[in-house]
């Protein structure tokens, strides 16, 4: 046998010997189901996708860095003022914002519920934003996340009743992370791949899930722990934490070509738009009303003005999700879920299109889903047949989800009542100057009907007592908003001069507990005044509109009360 041949044979066995465990590993990882997370649709199969290297991720874990030990770190505003305490081990994401030396601007994705710290209203919550000391930030790959899903129905599709709740999620990272590469997903979105484990299956991960940093509902409730601690009950973590093996799988898939199978689990759910998907002939946009059309003769019998119940529109469908399309109406951009708040564009630009499908004209409108975490799936086109107010929609039940309001009070004079509505003490006294109740306005013709509690813009405000939201945000004053709450015992508070930003779970009819966030402090667009909470208090003995310009010098309902003594008491008890 020639030397050349011997070398060849030797090389073959060497490669085979080295490759065998690799092939075994690749075979194993190739069997792990792949998904991605969508806030509206949940876990979606990504079996047609591949994984590619990712250099950086926005996901990080908070910690404490300093001379003393602490279970929390301060989340601050740009001026360095502490806004809240962030529990160590919380999942955060780096977001774009004004730079601050030695700090990173982050948003809280999920607070670590595994900590022994008893959280109060001064603690950071999911979606809070602020500046975190950059040395108090750890890489996500150093931790394992345990998902505590509040949705008991959340399961891995195709994984035999495997619930998401109680699973352990780990980012594997060596020289780089992994991200999903799917032809049907929006370009520019990095779906960071997590390996998912459970304690029962000891052979390795049960699934891999790609999560986009701007769609993170799945992490709303979680616990975190250091990887070393998780290895005590997830021994496969030790060997799995070698990314080079997983990367070999990616290259193999690229060589083998694309996968077959359904592109998305949504295909079976596109019930609402199957008819509209057929034969779309896009008609020219209807012309805006012009001089020629404005003055044309109208019907002798003028149409009645439609009256709807409720002031906010939602997606009104019998199914669970609705396709949201691009401007051509040919391509589905993303999905919206039933009951999701929706706003319709009006005015200049192209905001309406008509299509003829099967001889019937359908009107599509441009819409905005403003209350979404993901900022790149907010605007699209839907058929206006699927838009209605929540109260008028036959498919969204109007039932109120009652939360635990075990801290009931008998009224505003109950010793257990109440909570001062701002996170910290006011910066200016509300008992003097123009901020006090009954201060003269309009040269004394009118009296101030509230106490103005000065704090900082975008700070949360709290419900002073348990109660129920009776009116959600409406235009109040110079670009700010108000909402109205009827509290236990019957007294009513109007919380005014808020920003429009919604607190998840706060809407008309929802119950709130004492200390629950209701909204955020705003500032009027004239710049006349500092950011404040405009706090109006009513005994509840009267009914009807709170603002009544002809009623009295306060121009308010007659059961208006002076909130000053109550606020002083609550303030001294809280601070």
């Amino acid at each position: 046998m020639s030397v050349f041949a011997k070398n060849k044979i030797f090389s073959f066995f060497m490669i085979a010997g080295l490759a065998a465990p690799l092939m075994g590993a690749m075979a194993d990882t190739a069997q792990i189901p792949l998904y991605y997370w969508d806030n509206q649709s949940g876990l979606v199969s990504a079996s047609h996708c591949t994984t590619v290297p990712l250099e950086e991720t926005r996901f990080k874990i908070s910690n404490y860095f300093g001379n003393k030990s602490s279970d929390t770190e301060n989340l601050r505003n740009r001026n360095g003022v502490r806004q809240s305490h962030l529990v160590n081990g919380s999942l955060v994401k780096a977001i774009d914002g004004a730079r601050k030396s030695n700090y990173e601007y982050v948003e809280v994705v999920g607070v670590n519920e595994g900590s022994d710290v008893s959280t109060t209203r001064w603690f950071s919550e999911r979606l809070d934003k602020g500046y975190l000391f950059d040395r108090s930030i750890d890489p996500i790959e150093d931790y394992v996340l345990k998902i505590n899903s509040k949705d008991s129905d959340l399961k891995f599709p195709g994984l035999d009743e495997q619930k998401v709740d109680g699973t352990y999620w780990k980012v594997l990272a060596d020289q780089h992370y992994l991200a999903l590469n799917c032809s049907d997903l929006e370009k520019g979105r990095d779906y960071l791949v997590f390996h998912v484990y459970n304690k029962e299956k000891s052979e390795g991960p049960i699934a891999r899930v790609g999560v986009y940093w701007d769609e993170t509902n799945i992490f709303g409730s979680l616990e975190t722990m250091k990887t070393e601690k998780a290895m005590e009950f997830l021994p496969t973590l030790r060997q799995d934490d070698r990314l080079d093996l997983v990367m070999q799988e990616t290259e193999l898939e690229a060589v083998e070509g694309t996968h077959s199978g359904p592109k998305t689990a949504l295909e079976g759910e596109e019930v609402e738009n199957t008819e509209i998907d057929e034969e779309m002939e896009v008609a020219p946009s209807p012309e805006m009303l012009t001089d020629e059309t404005l003055n044309k003769d109208t019907d002798a019998e003028q149409a009645e003005v439609p009256v709807m119940t409720g002031v906010n529109n939602v997606v009104c469908i019998s199914g669970s999700t609705l396709n949201v399309r691009d401007e051509s109406l040919d391509k589905v951009l993303f999905t919206a879920r039933k009951g999701e708040k929706i706003k319709v564009f009006q005015g200049w630009g192209d905001n309406e299109k008509e299509t003829v499908i099967g001889g019937k004209t359908h009107k599509f409108v441009r819409v905005e889903f403003a209350e979404r975490e993901e900022s790149d799936q907010v605007i699209g086109w839907v058929s206006d047949e699927f838009i209605n107010t929540k109260e008028d929609c036959a498919y969204t039940n109007g039932s109120v989800i009652e939360r635990d309001s075990s801290t009931t009070i008998s009224g505003i004079d109950d010793p257990k009542c109440c909570e001062f509505p701002t996170v910290k003490k006011v910066t200016h006294s509300f008992t003097s100057g123009m901020r006090r109740f009954k201060a003269g306005r309009s040269s004394g013709k009118r009296l101030h009907a509230a106490c103005d509690l000065y704090r900082y813009k975008d700070e949360p405000i709290m419900a002073v007592a348990p109660g129920s939201v009776v009116r959600d945000r409406y235009y109040f004053y110079q670009g700010t908003y108000a909402l109205e709450v009827r509290h236990s015992g019957g007294f009513v508070v109007r919380y005014g001069e808020l920003t429009g930003k919604n607190v998840s779970g706060v809407s008309k009819g929802r119950s709130v507990k004492m200390g629950d966030r209701l909204g955020f402090i705003g500032v009027v667009n004239s710049g006349c005044c500092r950011p404040m909470l405009h706090f109006e208090l009513y005994s509840g003995k009267k009914k009807g509109a709170l603002s009544q310009p002809k009623a009295n010098r306060f121009q308010r309902r007659s059961d208006l009360m002076d909130p000053t003594p109550y606020l002083l008491r609550w303030q001294s008890e809280k601070f």
């Binding site: 301060n74 009256v307 009006q346 005015g347 409406y474 235009y475 004053y477 006349c528 405009h534």
Partner: protein, 273 residues
């Protein structure tokens, strides 16, 4: 006193001065990094508050309003006001001008005490912009009826009116709390809307407050304001949809007054509790 004693005395005085300075510095409060620092320094400044109604010149009033902004509109002179209104409106395309004046006139008309919501609906219907009402009612704070329109007229959009009343009882009186509309962004848009307000409301006096991109007046219990909307102004609006191209939209509104028509006080002094 001999020379040596003089020198000793001078040296002693110098030492005492140095020692005094050292102790003064060492007793200054530590400013800790990352501690909450109230704005005491700023708030102890004395700031002159100007009564806008009584200010002698628009320049003084406007300068007090924003420390630097000086309006280019001469409110004192009738012919100058009229010239401003005329020239500003002429810069708006005719079809948009008509829409603008329609809505400015609507805001003016319906801030009158005797104006009724039903009349508003009739007026909007006559313009074929298909008004509709969204009703929000509860047993504790009565009814809020929101009037909006299905259609738009050139250059404008998002007409919105909020009426409050005592709920479902018959013949209940409805109070207008807010009415607004938007005009498209553009170089001449702000002045165009301002001119439309001055014309339709018959505003002859100086604004209560004016700064770059914002102006407000007072009419009875209402404040009239016009704002050039920034991205932040439009964020989280529960009623209107926006995208980035809408920055610069002009919002014009009438609202029941909450604060007062006075110059902004940027740094009110901290008061002792």
């Amino acid at each position: 006193m001999n020379t040596n004693k003089k020198i000793s005395l001078i040296a002693l005085v110098l030492v005492l001065i140095a020692a005094g300075g050292y102790f003064a510095m060492s007793s200054a409060p530590d400013v800790k990094i990352n501690e909450e620092i109230p704005e005491q320094g700023k708030q102890k400044e004395e700031v002159e508050v100007t009564d806008m109604d009584n200010s002698s010149t628009p320049e003084v009033a406007a300068a007090a309003a924003n420390n630097s902004f000086v309006s280019t509109t001469n409110y004192d002179d009738q012919s100058a006001r009229e010239a401003f209104i005329e020239s500003s409106l002429q810069k708006i395309p005719e079809n948009e001008r008509e829409s603008l004046l329609f809505f400015a006139d609507t805001l003016s008309e319906f801030t009158a005490e005797e104006a009724k919501m039903e009349q508003l609906l009739d007026k909007l219907k006559s313009k074929n912009i298909e008004p509709f009402v969204m009703k929000d009612e509860n047993a504790y704070t009565g009814s809020m009826e929101v009037v909006r329109t299905q259609k738009v007229i050139p250059g404008t959009r998002y007409f919105h009116a909020q009426y409050f009343s005592d709920g479902s009882s018959e013949n209940r009186e409805k109070t207008l709390q807010h009415m607004s509309f938007e005009f498209r962004p553009g170089e001449n848009s702000f002045n165009g809307v301002k001119a439309a307000f001055m014309k339709t409301f018959g505003l002859t006096g100086k604004p209560v407050l004016e700064k770059d991109g914002f102006v407000s007046w007072k009419k009875g219990p209402y404040t009239l304001w016009i704002n050039t909307q920034s991205k932040e102004d439009m964020a989280n609006d529960p009623f209107n949809a926006y995208d980035d191209k809408d920055v610069g939209t002009i919002r014009a509104a009438v609202e029941l007054e909450i604060h007062d028509h006075q110059a902004p006080v940027f740094h009110a002094p901290l008061e002792e509790e």
